[in-house]
């Protein structure tokens, strides 16, 4: 193939562009309406292409990372030996508008061992912490006993309310093993309110709300226990 004509053509075009790009030429062009419109659109086009490509390249990866994150959270409250399935892909979505968990529908992740539901786990919210909503994730074994609770995010005051984080205090572990059966309804409260859970000195509200939210979570599980366990047996 003969590239020469193409090359000369290209060179010519390049030369033209060069001339066009001369500051003097641009000087004249800049005040023109059409030029302005085109330039803005041009930059928008370039940006869109750039981001489009970047998005294409990263969408999958990001999805993967988010799943990894979630999985890591779930693994914290459901010991690995309790299941042999992939928690992320064994889910049931239940209506939870009445359970006061902070969402109209709650995704329940099922931990199955050999197809039987061994434990469940779900995210929920204590909507009325001291400084705002507190999101939690909780694992419950099939009998309704707590396997673990973790705080995902909160906006409580550093130094006071943030002792609900596992990295700040072991307080959140005190729920392990508790259920609606081994702790009475009245006892689901902080000590100050005649319950069995510790409060933090100077900050009662945060733990109080967390305790009550966890109780609601357990009640939600209890209400749906049958359905959930049944999903396992069916499969």
């Amino acid at each position: 193939m003969n590239f020469k004509p193409i090359k000369t053509k290209f060179d010519a075009a390049l030369a033209k562009v060069k001339v066009w790009l001369e500051p003097e030429n641009l000087e004249q062009l800049r005040p023109k309406l059409g030029y302005q419109t085109a330039i803005l659109a041009g930059f928008a086009l370039a940006a869109a292409i750039l981001l489009g490509v970047a998005d294409l390249a990263t969408r999958g990866v990001i999805q993967l990372r988010l799943e990894e994150d979630l999985k890591a959270k779930l693994e914290e409250v459901i010991p690995p030996e309790m299941h042999d399935n992939d928690l992320l892909f064994d889910t049931v979505t239940l209506p939870s508008a009445d359970a006061n968990l902070g969402a109209a529908e709650t995704i329940v992740y099922l931990a199955k061992k050999q197809g039987d539901v061994n434990a469940v786990c779900f995210k929920f919210v204590a909507p009325d912490g001291y400084a705002g909503a507190i999101s939690l994730v909780m694992g419950i074994d099939k009998n309704g006993e707590i396997l673990g609770v973790r705080v995902i995010s909160h906006t409580e005051t550093p130094g006071l309310g943030d002792k609900i984080e596992i990295s700040k205090s072991k307080w959140i572990l005190s729920f392990n093993g508790k259920s609606l059966d081994n702790v009475s309804f009245e006892q689901w409260a902080v000590k100050k309110d005649n319950g069995i859970f510790d409060q933090f000195s100077g900050a009662t509200i945060t733990p109080r709300k967390v305790v009550i939210a966890i109780r609601r979570g357990l009640e939600f599980y209890k209400a749906n226990q049958a359905t959930l366990i049944a999903t396992g047996e069916k499969s």
Binding site: A48, L51, A131
Partner: protein, 193 residues
Amino acid sequence: MSEYLLLILGTALVNNVVLVKFLGLCPFMGVSNKLDTALGMGMATTFVLTLASAASWVLEHRLLIPFDIGFLRVLGFILVIAAVVQFTEMVIHKTSPVLYQVLGIFLPLITTNCAVLGVALLNIQEQYNFIQSLLFGFGAALGFTLVMVLFAGLRERLALMSVPALFTGTPIAFITAGILSLAFMGFAGLPIK
């Protein structure tokens, strides 16, 4: 009705954009030397912020979500906001040269006034409907204007006080802003949100 009023009040006082959310601080510091200017800036921002809230809601719900291109959100919003601001700038330049001179470089900077983008993004995050978005934007701007005006009043008085040389101007203004924000913490916990 009262729900909307509470939304505006809550946004303006309890979650004040400047003092609590830390948005729009540059104009807050930059254009608050004089009461009149602060008021002007507040009104310009109110106009832009309300308009931008509405525009970004439309953009989000009519383009970004239907076409599943959420990654363009920031880009799209900022583009729309920039256009609104530029437009406002031109109008002010034409109609009131003095105001233009006074607001100076800050009008273009409204574009980058974090408050505008921040409020637009918060709007989406809070999943407000159109009316709520509009009111949220308005309330935020109201809060912005309120603290601007209070702060300008304080600074006008400061200008007459014998503040030690080390602290005159910016340092004492920051400290005063800090105390103002301390005072606004008193609104925390009010059930208006």
